[in-house]
Amino acid sequence: MAVITYREALNQALREEMHRDPDVFLMGEEVAEYDGAYKVSRGLLKEFGARRVVDTPIAELGFAGIGVGAAMAGLRPVIEFMTWNFALLAIDQVVNSAAKLRYMSGGQIGCPIVFRGPGGAALQLAAQHSQALESWYAHVPGLKVVMPGTPADAKGLLKAAIRDDDPVVFIEGEMLYNTKGEVPEAEDFVIPIGQAEVKRPGDHVTVVCHSKTVTVALKAAEALAQEGISAEVVDLRTIRPLDTDTILASVAKTNRCVILEEGWPYAGVGAQVVDVIQRDAFDHLDAPVLRVTGADVPMPYNKQLEKAAKTDPARAVAAVKRVLYLA
């Protein structure tokens, strides 16, 4: 297997799916001539031409809606948001159109579209550019929400999202684009939506994570291993539909759980995971489930304040020790 970056993995997925299906096209700000604001679409304009790699004006609501309309007609648009912060301008089309068309048309009209781009914080981008908004979309029936944390997952899940007949919110991580990992090269390498993965097996505690917190969880697990604590890292990969079987099987084994996420605590993804665990694994629990989240504040600019606002391995380790009654 080749070792490539998360960015290259996404680029491969787009290229392969555009070769595979002439109905797939990419649309968004700076995706074509600029080669992508984050270079995810590098080379695609040259390879596929301006008909299928379409630069847009800065008009998120408009081009998201044009994508939905094209999907209603049976095309398979991939709509790139430069970041998910800007996608808030388009949320009407994602929630009121894409998510509901199939239902309110009595099943007549589907919407096979992918909305993708980076979510969450990078470094010192301050309040308006540093938001993890996945729980907003995960709240909505009719949408699927996918958040890969590794290059292999990025490729396999983006290919699955493009082939999916429903609207998929595909949230990447700006800080993940340069991360490297082994990625299968086979054309049919597709990871089914809705399957979590145990990224590191362990016995003493389950650490649930997704997207950027996968790295946080793995670092925490490594640190905990030095102290003889064996943490099982469960990467959700898909936020909706949630792979409850994998979560519950892990908690049944470890009897303890800590949930990491980048976003805010209030009504966050972790709250939904806690709901599943308290209902379906109540008798397995030896401690309350704890959550480690971003601080419940708009993201500050100052480097030290920003660091204090983010989910990090040290806070994950501390939470694990609490559920083990070691701290």
């Binding site: 094209a70 159109s97 096979p112």
Partner: protein, 335 residues
């Protein structure tokens, strides 16, 4: 401002059969909506219900200029467009009743009428939301190299919302085959045009996007059809969008909870507009041309009333959706 010449009209003009067809559609929409209002009062129809009475010539005239494989998409005052597109009175009335036999299986209701087989792409309830969707349908037609056209209906108040501007800009920038149709009935709910738009000649909004426009008398079905034919030709042959401002009037309130007059408009104003009724205009023209007589008109009216009666009976006797339908159509069936 029209930037291309009108297509040559046949010297004889539309024949009696064609005119009779339009008159029947106008009457059908009028009688359908009158009875829908009654059924709402009786509690047979729930939720929001926005009637089209007074505006019938807009739907009939525009849709007459389309091909069966073109797309039609509208807002929530869309019963008239659905019927003009050829959706059956039964399937539309049953949808208003929320029945399983409705065009959207009872899951959409008045605001979400769909018929994919006729290219009728809804029924959208957020003001302006369907405008980018129409551009997307047109984008798909151009992408595939078909010569289909998308026709997009919205009220005049929608020209003040962002999606209108974003969609019109991209439609013109990318030369998409779409006709944007402002149904200017003078009021966005209870807000008169002059209280909501800094520009009163709404057609002129197209100048911002270097797009052709035309102001159209929406009470004359043939004038509407002629204007739409030009716009459709421009879309189909030149792949360029058009903004039509079709001036019309609704005789009834915004929705069922809104009185026809007395709050934001006067009874006299409503009566004045009723004098240029689209049905009366066409009927009198046909009678003057000896293409119709009073008895013929009465017979046609009886015919559509019977059709609406049948639709109500069908809706009444149809079953509610099966309880299991609550959970279907959220996602695509698993393959």
């Amino acid at each position: 401002m029209a930037t291309t010449a009108a297509p040559a009209r046949s010297k004889s003009g539309p024949g009696a059969d064609e005119l009779r067809g339009y008159l029947r559609q106008l009457l059908l929409i009028r009688r359908f909506e009158e009875r829908a209002g009654e059924m709402y009062s009786l509690g047979k129809i729930g939720g929001f219900c926005h009637l089209y009475i007074g505006q019938e010539a807009v739907a009939v005239g525009t849709i007459a200029a389309l091909r069966p494989d073109d797309y039609v998409i509208s807002a929530y005052r869309e019963h008239g467009q659905a019927l003009a597109r050829g959706m059956s009175s039964r399937s539309v009335m049953a949808e208003l009743f929320g029945k399983a036999t409705g065009c959207s299986k009872g899951k959409g209701g008045s605001m979400h009428l769909f018929d994919a087989s006729l290219g009728f792409m809804g029924g959208h309830g957020i003001v302006g939301g369907q405008i980018p969707l129409a551009a997307g349908l047109a984008f798909a037609a151009k992408y595939r190299g078909t010569d289909q056209v998308a026709a997009c209906f919205f009220g005049e108040a929608a020209v003040n919302i962002g999606s209108f501007h974003e969609a019109l800009n991209m439609a013109s920038l990318w030369k998409l085959p779409v006709v944007f149709i402002i149904e200017n009935n003078g009021y966005g709910m209870g807000t008169a045009l002059a209280r909501g738009s800094s520009l009163l000649d709404l057609a002129h909004r197209s100048y911002s996007y270097d797009m052709a426009n035309e102001v159209v008398d929406g009470q004359d079905v043939l004038t509407v059809k002629t204007a739409m034919e030009m716009a459709v030709t421009r879309a189909r042959t030149e792949s360029k969008p058009t903004l039509l401002e079709i001036r019309t009037y609704r005789y009834v309130g915004h929705s069922m909870s809104d009185a026809a007059h007395g709050t934001y408009r006067t009874k006299e104003e409503v009566e004045t507009y009723r004098e240029r009724d689209p049905i009366v205009l066409l009927r009198d023209r046909m009678i003057a041309a000896t293409q119709l007589d009073a008895a013929g008109y009465e017979a046609l009216d009886r015919e559509v009333k019977a059709e609406v009666d049948d639709a109500i009976q069908f809706a009444e006797s149809s079953p509610d959706p099966d309880p299991s339908e609550l959970w279907t159509d959220v996602y695509a069936p698993r393959s």
